[in-house]
């Protein structure tokens, strides 16, 4: 995406500073040790090392600490004497120390903290790299990471200046804001030219729909198929067309990738072939060159071309394997079902499709994803459907998924409608009798009765699903819906757009009520010079589709959106 279209668009802050800060601190911590011999991944297995001191750099997880305790105890039994040091990042938890104590190794181990909060993944993406955030916070009700997120914000503020306005929605967002504010009270304020204008905090559970949809922008697809981890992906042999896997960094440094990452998949192949042609032309320039020109060509251009060539062939390989998997009938039908669910049409057919999906054991995860999408868009499943689908799922994948279902219910992702809550059924029956407008009103009325996910009503009010039947040219995106083939605008991104446009939540009372409230907007300080960089922080993770949608929004408004995920 060409960010330069807007001449007066502000430059992005320099995130290398964050990396440098964190690195220096780690070096300082490690310097207290002696030279590092070898790096190991912490697992439950004996460490084969003759070194008489071990240093562990770990996340503060009880499981990991237990492993380490076992290692120490094993050494003790074997009569080995070593020194052990655990460096917790980003912080030490009391529970971890308790485990050390209960395992009887507290005295043998020294501990330290490495306050590494934020990993800059790209020019416009920061990440806390806390995959457990979602589970801990939303499922287990453990708010331990709230202060971590608050500290991360404080770090950003101390390095890049204070924010002028903070918006947020969700319980966790509110707590993060509180924790951050408290931290700011303690420390001294730095007065410098701020680089971020606004911050938007959003809980993942405000919008569960978006991450449940299949991704169709290139970067999203790469993630769905190959899993992007810490900004890099491992392409297997079928992509590299050799017998090796290759690890590739995916960021704006990759010129080919940066041009296609936000594109709808249907455009990518055409783009890549055009790119290949251009490359060929560039190579062809060699013909008819004299020695001098050839020398210059080899010196200046060839390396770049070679690099581009390599990347291009990788991405073509990746798209090919996507094509193979995704253009099949199955995928098209999957998308069709998702779109029907989002629109709220032909629900019965969708359920049949899901049933078949489960029966045929197409994909364990995809089946669950569809079930959840069904539950959320329909405010829960009818008891009959819920039980039959659940039974089928358990038959397919084993009884241990009883627990999976229990967890999903806890999260509100997959629910059974309680008796007397069959409003949606009534609604759909009524819907057949009266025209569209009335349905809208009725839906609103019903949703205010049953305070559930309210997706239907939200979708109506925020116009998340464009009117069907209109042609949507994916080459020239009209709005953020392009990231889902023009079928759905991500709820989270729409909220952000609306709030920033209105500079607050006024006029959106209905919407916030349906999202269970917990919204806030705080003006930290009046700033006249309009900095247009907005920091969006997803608490509990975000999808690449959402990132693409926000990039699109940023291009439209000449604003930068920085994304931060857990």
């Amino acid at each position: 995406m060409a960010h330069t279209e807007w001449k007066d668009a502000p430059g992005l802050p320099d995130f290398s500073l964050l990396k440098r800060l964190a690195r220096d601190q780690l070096i300082f911590l490690l310097e207290q040790q002696h030279e590092v011999d070898k790096l190991y991944k912490v697992e439950l297995k004996p460490i084969v090392s003759s070194s008489d001191q071990l240093c562990f750099l770990i996340r503060p997880r009880i499981q990991t600490v237990k492993w380490i305790s076992d290692l120490v105890n094993a050494d003790k039994v074997a009569g080995r004497f070593r020194r052990y040091k655990i460096i917790f990042t980003p912080q030490k938890f009391y529970a971890c120390e308790t485990v050390l104590e209960e395992q009887g190794v507290y005295g043998d181990v020294t501990t330290d903290e490495w306050n590494f909060y934020i990993l800059p993944l790209d020019d416009d993406i920061l990440s806390l790299e806390l995959p457990e955030f979602f589970r801990d916070n939303f499922l287990e009700g453990d708010q331990r990471w709230v202060t971590t997120a608050g500290s991360a914000l404080r770090l950003l503020q101390s390095v890049y200046g204070s924010f002028s306005k903070v918006y947020g929605i969700g319980r966790c967002a509110k707590m993060v804001y509180e924790s951050w504010r408290e931290l700011m009270e303690d420390g001294e304020q730095r007065t410098r030219q701020p680089e971020f204008a606004k911050v938007f905090l959003v809980d993942r559970d405000v919008d569960f729909v978006t991450p449940l949809c299949s991704q169709v922008v290139y970067e999203g697809l790469v993630d769905d198929l190959f899993r992007i981890k810490c900004g890099s992906v491992e392409f297997g042999p079928d992509v590299t067309s050799s017998d090796k896997s290759i690890k590739v960094m995916l960021n704006s440094q990759d010129k080919v990738f940066s041009e296609i990452r936000n594109e709808h998949f249907s455009n990518v192949f055409g783009f890549l072939s055009q790119k290949a042609k251009n490359l060929q032309t560039a190579y062809d320039k060699r013909r008819g060159m004299d020695i001098q020109q050839m020398k210059a060509f080899v010196a200046d251009e060839l390396k770049g071309l070679k690099q581009e060539h390599r990347l291009l062939s990788l991405h073509i390989g990746a798209s090919e394997s996507m094509m193979k998997k995704k253009t099949k009938q199955d995928f098209q039908e999957l998308l069709k079902t998702e779109h029907s669910l989002l629109e709220g049409f032909e629900i019965r057919e969708c359920i049949t499709y899901i049933e078949e999906h489960i029966n045929r054991q197409v994909s364990m995860i995809d089946s669950l994803r569809l079930l959840c999408l069904l539950s959320i868009t329909e405010n829960g499943l009818l008891s009959k459907d819920y039980r039959s689908l659940k039974a089928q799922y358990l038959q397919s994948y084993g009884i241990e998924h009883l627990l999976t279902f229990a967890n999903l219910r806890q999260l509100g992702l997959l629910e059974e409608q309680q008796a007397g809550e069959t409003l949606t059924v009534m609604e759909s029956k009524v819907g057949k009798l009266v025209n569209d407008k009335t349905v809208g009103k009725l839906t609103d009325a019903f949703s205010s009765l049953a305070k559930k996910s309210n997706f239907r009503a939200l979708s109506k009010r925020l116009a998340l699903v464009p009117k069907s039947g209109e042609e949507y040219d994916l080459r020239v995106p009209r709005d953020m819906a392009y990231v889902f083939s023009g079928a759905y605008i991500p709820l989270s991104c729409k909220l952000i757009e609306q709030v920033l446009e209105r500079d607050g939540w006024t006029g959106m009372e209905e919407v916030t009520r349906m999202l269970n409230g917990q919204e806030f907007a705080v003006t930290a300080r009046n700033k006249t010079d309009a900095q247009r960089i907005v920091l969006v922080m997803f608490l509990g993770g975000c999808t690449f589709s959402e990132i693409s949608a926000l990039r699109f929004l940023g291009k439209e408004r000449g604003t930068y959106y920085l994304k931060q995920m857990e």
Binding site: I62, Q63, K66, F93, Y94, A95, T98, V99, E102, E140, G141, D142, Q143, R144, V146, T147, M175, E178, S179, E182, E185, E355, E356, N359, R360, Q361, R387, K390, A391, Q392, L394, Q395, S396, Y397, G398, I399, E400, L402, L403, A406
Partner: protein, 827 residues
């Protein structure tokens, strides 16, 4: 050689405010350096039980701070710590610590060895590590503690040949270690942790047969020794260099000896005191003698010696360079000329200009200003200070770019110094001392003396950052306030909150802790309410055994770690029942504890669910446990427990499913034994797939019936399994058993997937009309697809077929399709 033998000056600091009947006679006296307080123990020599000695504490100006009868053991020595606490070293080696106001703080012992052999002599000393105590025991051994706040007793090695108490000894700090210097007759030893080393002072006059007194300078750099021949030897304390030696011509042992020297001064001088006589010795042979009317005590300071007597308090000091330059008779130093110029200027005399010109001609004006400012700093008399500062200010007018900081800060410092030197405050600090001790410490001292308003004024005046200044003082004030027993909780809480309201960085929890320590729990709780950070309240609440409140505050703070801390504390503190009850009312804490238990204490988790009658979770718990167990019997047993719980939870669905699983497990086990196929642990679907793939159709059918597997599922399963095996014959039979619940399109597609077009074609005719086109296309039959599409007159289907036709081979077909499409559209 020198024109002036000494530049020693004696200034009167105070006329003492105390009214001592016998002066300092028969008193044990200790005065703290840096103008600190004075402690007297009166009458401790009379060892009759009827007359208890009296301990009195005064400010430097003799104002009483405390007085009480001494009821403990025999005191050998008094001394002050760096934080204005009084140390009383008893004969048995116990050291009692009192605050400035005579309040008992604590006591500590100097060890068994000391208490057994009793204290003979003791010295209290200061080092960068704090305040230390050195003791000479009756066994003639030294025991030393370098820092009384972190006591590590060290027993020093024996001094060879020591038969009786040494004639004199001193503590000095060298090479970051405290050592003892001992004189035994004419021999001198240095004792450190490991060894006793004999040393010889270079050039000590040979007449001496014994060293009778010694003293170390304030900085520990210099040493003075007095011999029985009356000679004072002065040198460096490392005994490498001799500075001078003077004969006092007095052979009686003195009462006290001290260094009187300012930092960086070139002249060594020491003060020796006998009864009624004070002699100052220096570099030259001559001495200065002062007559003393009264019993006195010498208090060595950084830059001089204070002399406290029953009536007066004086400072003996080497005259500072700047003052000497200015006030020397007929001095032509620039500062002196500037002072003169200013005097003339005040008299409106033109001589002012002459003087000024004289200074300016030598371009010494800035030097002159500096001299005046510096001299003002050393003067104690405000009038003199003012005169000098006015002169400096006058001189400054004629300088274009003289930096103002020195002048400004000197004015500020002097204002503060004059305030604390005031008789009512009684801290006679010199400017040098003030700079050395820093503002921070001065504020501390004022706080110890409960001079809160003055401390706050000083902070504000010197613009000390609020956090280290005003807020700190207010905190101390509040800590003091909460201990005032006569006022009610409400009044105190209100007073504290009003005063502290807008001060930054106040920790109410610290104040509350103080209140709690003085036994006012209710007040502590009230004060904690003011603490904005709920996290800060938790530790004290726990200490006060207000655990429910602590827990809710921890939760309120949003700090999970803190919640854990409280939970773990409660877990150890309470019995299990109460602990669970408390958690029950706090869902956040409960869920945290459950998480902890998941990893650490599985059984506790079960108990928790049991207590809550949470049968659903118990069921889940057993299910989870079941698939962690390897043995079949155990798994079935666990699942049975799960079933029971699910029934209790009225969750029939889960119960039934679990029962099914048990049945399945048994079935799998049986088959495993019979057919030797790996089955246990598979899902129903996987089990059926496996059975079909090895040809055990009957058993698969049995499962299909027993477990009420939906037809569709079974058909899909069998279809795929047979195609996988390429058992086309069986597939055909299967297809004919009854009407397929999944239709026949899947048959076509699955065959094609396994590259068997021939078999696929067999099913095309059975496909429903709606799927005909798809089926034909799947087997690649364009004609058939076209037929079907045209028959159904479905525009989109016709288009689909069209898009699959190739222009070269299917020319005719395309024409037909286009025609049909046209009619379909028309309709």
């Amino acid at each position: 050689k020198y024109y002036y033998a000494f530049n020693i000056l004696k200034i009167e600091l105070y006329e003492m405010g105390w009214n001592l009947k016998d002066g300092l006679r028969e008193c044990l006296v200790a005065a703290a350096p840096y103008g600190g307080p004075i402690a007297l123990l009166k009458g401790h020599y009379r060892r009759s039980p009827s007359a208890r000695p009296q301990l009195e504490i005064y400010s430097s100006s003799g104002l009483p701070l405390a007085s009480f009868p001494w009821k403990s053991g025999v005191v050998k020595q008094l001394g002050w710590t760096v934080s204005d606490d009084l140390l009383c070293v008893q004969e048995d080696g116990t050291v009692l610590v009192y605050d400035l106001w005579g309040g008992f703080k604590r006591h500590f012992s100097m060890g068994n060895e000391v208490s057994q052999s009793q204290v003979l002599e003791t010295k209290i000393f200061h080092s960068p590590y704090g305040t230390g105590v050195a003791i000479l025991t009756g066994a003639l051994r030294f025991t030393l503690a370098t820092n009384i706040d972190d006591i590590k007793l060290r027993r020093l090695p024996e001094v060879p040949g020591l038969q009786e108490a040494p004639s004199c000894w001193a503590v000095l700090t060298q090479d970051r270690q405290s050592k003892v210097l001992v004189a035994n007759g004419s021999q001198l030893f240095i004792l450190d942790n490991t060894a006793c080393t004999p040393v010889t002072p270079p050039g000590l006059s040979p007449q001496a047969s014994s060293i009778v007194h010694m003293c170390v300078s304030f900085s520990y750099k210099y040493l003075a020794l007095l011999t029985d021949s009356g000679h004072v030897w002065m040198g460096t304390s490392n005994l490498k260099e001799k500075l001078s030696e003077v004969d006092t011509k007095i052979k009686t042992p003195p009462k006290q000896m001290a260094w009187c020297r300012r930092p960086k001064s070139q002249q060594p001088s020491a003060v020796v005191m006998w009864d009624g006589l004070l002699i100052v010795v220096g570099e030259c042979k001559e001495t200065i003698q002062y007559h003393l009317d009264d019993d006195s005590v010498l208090v060595p300071e950084l830059d001089g010696v204070r002399i406290i007597s029953g009536t007066h308090h004086e400072l003996l000091q080497e005259v500072p360079g700047a003052c000497e330059e200015i006030f020397k008779i007929a001095s032509m130093a620039p500062g002196a000329l500037l002072l003169e110029a200013h005097k003339e200027y005040e008299k409106e005399s033109q001589k002012a200009d002459e003087y000024l010109r004289e200074i300016k001609e030598q371009s010494l004006l800035s030097e002159a200003v500096r001299q005046c400012v510096e001299a003002a700093g050393h003067e104690h008399e405000p009038e003199t200070q003012k005169t000098l500062l006015r002169a400096a200010s006058f001189g400054k007018c004629f300088l274009s770019n003289f930096p103002p900081e020195q002048f400004v800060s000197m004015c500020r410092d002097l204002r503060v110094l004059n305030a604390v030197r005031d008789y009512t405050v009684g801290i006679p600090l010199t400017h040098t001392q003030f700079k050395q001790m820093t503002v921070q410490v001065l504020i501390d001292r004022l706080v110890y003396r409960k001079l809160y308003p003055l401390a706050i004024e000083v902070c504000r005046y010197l613009k000390t950052p609020e956090y280290q200044g005003v807020s700190r003082v207010l905190k101390h004030w509040a800590c003091y306030k909460v201990q005032q027993k006569e006022e009610s909780d409400e009044v105190i809480a209100k007073a504290v909150s009003v005063k502290l309201a807008d001060a930054a960085g106040i920790s109410y929890s610290e104040i509350a802790t103080k209140a709690y320590e003085s036994g006012r729990t209710e007040l502590a709780i009230k004060l904690l309410e003011f603490e904005p950070r709920s996290g800060e309240q938790v530790p004290l609440l726990l200490k006060m055994k207000k655990s429910p409140l602590a827990l809710s505050k921890a939760i309120e703070s949003g700090d999970t770690d803190l919640v854990y801390t409280v939970v773990m504390y409660l877990k150890n503190e309470l019995n299990r029942g109460d602990f669970f009850m408390m958690l029950r009312n706090q869902p956040v804490a409960l869920s945290l504890y459950k998480q902890f238990c998941k990893h650490q204490e599985q059984d506790t988790l079960k108990d928790l669910f049991n207590q809550d009658d949470d049968h659903e979770e118990l069921g889940n718990f057993y299910v989870k446990a079941s698939y962690k167990d390897q043995r079949l019997e155990a798994r079935v047993a666990l699942l049975q427990s799960a079933v029971d719980e699910y029934y209790k939870a009225k969750n029939d669905f889960s119960a039934k499913t679990t029962e099914d699983e048990m049945r399945l497990l048994r079935f799998q086990r049986k088959l495993e034994e019979e057919k030797d196929e790996q089955l246990v642990g598979f899902s129903l679907q996987d089990t059926m797939t496996t059975l079909l793939s090895v040809g055990l159709h009957k058993h698969a059918e049995q499962l299909y019936k027993d477990f009420r597997v939906p037809d569709k599922r079974f058909w899909w399963l069998k279809l795929k399994a047979l195609a996988e095996k390429e058992d086309w014959e069986e597939l055909e039979k299967f297809g004919k058993t009854k009407k397929s619940p999944i239709g026949y399109l899947p048959f076509v597609e699955v065959c094609i997937k396994h590259h068997n077009k021939y078999e696929a074609k067999k099913y095309v005719s059975k496909v429903t009309p709606e799927q005909k086109v798809k089926a034909h296309l799947a087997v690649g039959d364009m004609e058939g697809a076209a037929e079907a599409a045209i028959e159904r007159r479905n525009e989109s289907e016709i288009s689909t077929v069209l898009s699959r036709c190739s222009a070269t081979t299917d020319h005719l077909l395309m024409e037909r399709l286009n025609r049909a499409k046209a009619t379909a559209v028309k309709k």
